[in-house]
């Protein structure tokens, strides 16, 4: 008896979103990124199309983290105090498709950097690399409402991805996105119902659904990864069934989540039975990223160059029809 592959019939597709603008499009990027457009669950090439491959953004911070894990220190410690140099290294040496700039230093409990200082950081990164940018605030609503409009202004026309709009704080950033021609990252705290609500709220302000990317919060391996996975998978199923309010591409913050885990950071002297620390964090990040690829993530935000290289090979292999 021959085996017949069971094939699901879907009625709709995930949205296609392009980030970045070249000179011809009014920006200064030398490359742009297009994600989404999938007409089936990820990598089921026998069932539907996956016209755009998932992409890897590498994350840079505006201020160096106080405590790097040793492998991160070794990989980017030399540039981690300089966002522009860090970004350049990510693109030129590590082949990042995008750069994700996170303005952690703006947080009042950190360095309370001003909107102008943050905007200068963003501008320096923009000038240092040709790939598209993702720009995040510090996560504190009031401060982000000062910082993000300024960062939006200085990158006007560059078609960046700006984050994040949340259920209780979405108006300022949505307005900035609309005014300066950016894409919007809509965030929900591991909750598909709130994700849908945020998408409704921002679209009611007049932002087209085709300009939204979803960030549903990410849990690293061992720290809630399965929650995030099931929410993303359910979101994708809703998109394929025609729910236009959940049809946007999805992003996962893999690097920062994974390198928080004690399993990624703890030295061999403390936990010799866990094996060499030089491998653990990289494996933790690559494993988490690979899982999210299968959940339907379109944009992975990652930290360690070796994890990036492993995941890029995984994407190559999953995207080839013979895989």
């Amino acid at each position: 008896m021959s085996f017949e592959m069971p094939v699901e019939k879907w009625t709709a597709a995930a949205n296609t979103v392009t980030i970045g603008a070249t000179a011809a499009e009014g920006g200064t990027r030398t490359s742009v990124v297009t994600v989404g457009g999938d007409t089936s669950l990820p990598f089921l090439h026998f069932e539907g199309a996956m016209p755009n491959r998932p992409v890897i953004a590498m994350e840079v911070l505006d201020v160096a983290p106080a405590e790097w894990a040793t492998p991160m220190e070794e990989a980017v410690g030399d540039v981690s105090g300089d966002a522009a140099a860090w970004a350049r290294k990510c693109v030129e040496e590590f082949g990042a498709d995008m750069i994700s700039v996170r303005l952690v230093g703006a947080h009042p409990d950190e360095q309370d950097r001003s909107a102008e200082e943050c905007a200068q950081t963003v501008k320096s990164v923009l000038e240092a690399v040709g790939v598209p940018l993702i720009i995040w605030g510090c996560g504190q609503a009031e401060k982000d409402n000062e910082v993000m409009p300024r960062c939006s202004e200085v990158t006007a026309g560059e078609n960046c991805l700006l984050g994040t709009a949340k259920e209780d704080n979405y108006k300022t950033i949505t307005a900035a996105c609309m005014a300066d021609g950016h894409k919007l990252l809509a965030e929900a705290p591991l909750d598909i119902n709130i994700q849908k609500q945020v998408n409704i709220l921002v679209s009611e302000m007049g932002l087209e659904l085709s300009r939204i990317v979803m960030y549903q919060a990410t849990g690293g391996l061992g720290y809630g990864m399965e929650y995030a996975y099931s929410i993303m998978e359910r979101t994708r199923l809703a998109a394929l069934s025609g729910d236009r309010m959940l049809s946007m591409p999805m992003l996962a913050l893999v690097g920062s989540e994974c390198w928080k885990a004690k399993e990624a950071r703890t030295g061999e002297d403390t936990a010799p039975e866990w094996g060499p620390v030089s491998e653990r964090g990289v494996a933790w990040e690559a494993t988490t990223a690979t899982c999210f690829l299968h959940a339907g993530t379109h944009i992975l935000v990652m930290w360690h160059p070796r994890a990036v290289s492993i995941v890029r090979k995984t994407i190559d292999s999953l995207m080839s029809q013979e895989a």
């Binding site: 598909i192 119902n193 849908k196 609500q197 409704i200 679209s203 025609g242 729910d243 236009r244």
Partner: protein, 265 residues
Amino acid sequence: MYAIGERINGMFKSVAAAIKEKNPEPIQDLAREQLKAGAQALDVNVGPAAEDALAAMEWLVKTIREVTEAPLVIDTTKPEVMRRGLEAAGSGSVINSSKGQQEQLDIFVPMAVEHEASLIALTIDENGIPRDANGRGEIALRAVAAAMEKGLPMDRLMIDAVILPVNVTQPTPGHVLEAIRNVKLLSDPPPKTVLGLSNVSQGTRQRELINRTYLVMALAVGLDAAIVDVLDTELMDEMITAELLMNRAVYADDFLKAYRASAAP
């Protein structure tokens, strides 16, 4: 639920007048309004008064096609009018409808295959409307067999178990619900089910209340599609809420808005 807008029907005076005067605007307005209100397809019926039903159907369909590519549900009992409507509307249309006697199925099932259309099959035959659910099931099975034989896929066969006014025959709403449930057991994959909803309330004083209550009951037993007044906001709200409670849509606080924004053409 696949919502079919019922308003482009010559039984309505304004529609009859527009057909008579060949005035496209009221028809095109009705098409746009119904789609905006959540209709996924539009029923098209020239009504009993049209003098030349063939020409009227062709004009109606072409008039609607000027403003939308939405699927059209060609509503006539006459095969030649049906054919003219399907030709003007293009593939993806719906035949509304064939009765369940073999001679009718022999005409309309091949017509659906030929025109890449779906087919609504009524559970009525030469003996009239069955008295109970079993009688409806028997006729539905005949339609299923005809579809299988002629190569019409089950997802393009829609069984209409024929609802009658509740003030004429009160057991019928219950029989129809049972029939909708049973139709789903006739084949795998099963045919779709559809209702011409407003008939349940003909001649009653609480038409909207009866319509929307019955719609929710029918959705709960698996109804797939209904020909309804999509301009009745409360009816559509109830339908959207029932779909949510059946886990056919993901909840959001503004789930009504989400449905309407998703449906907007």
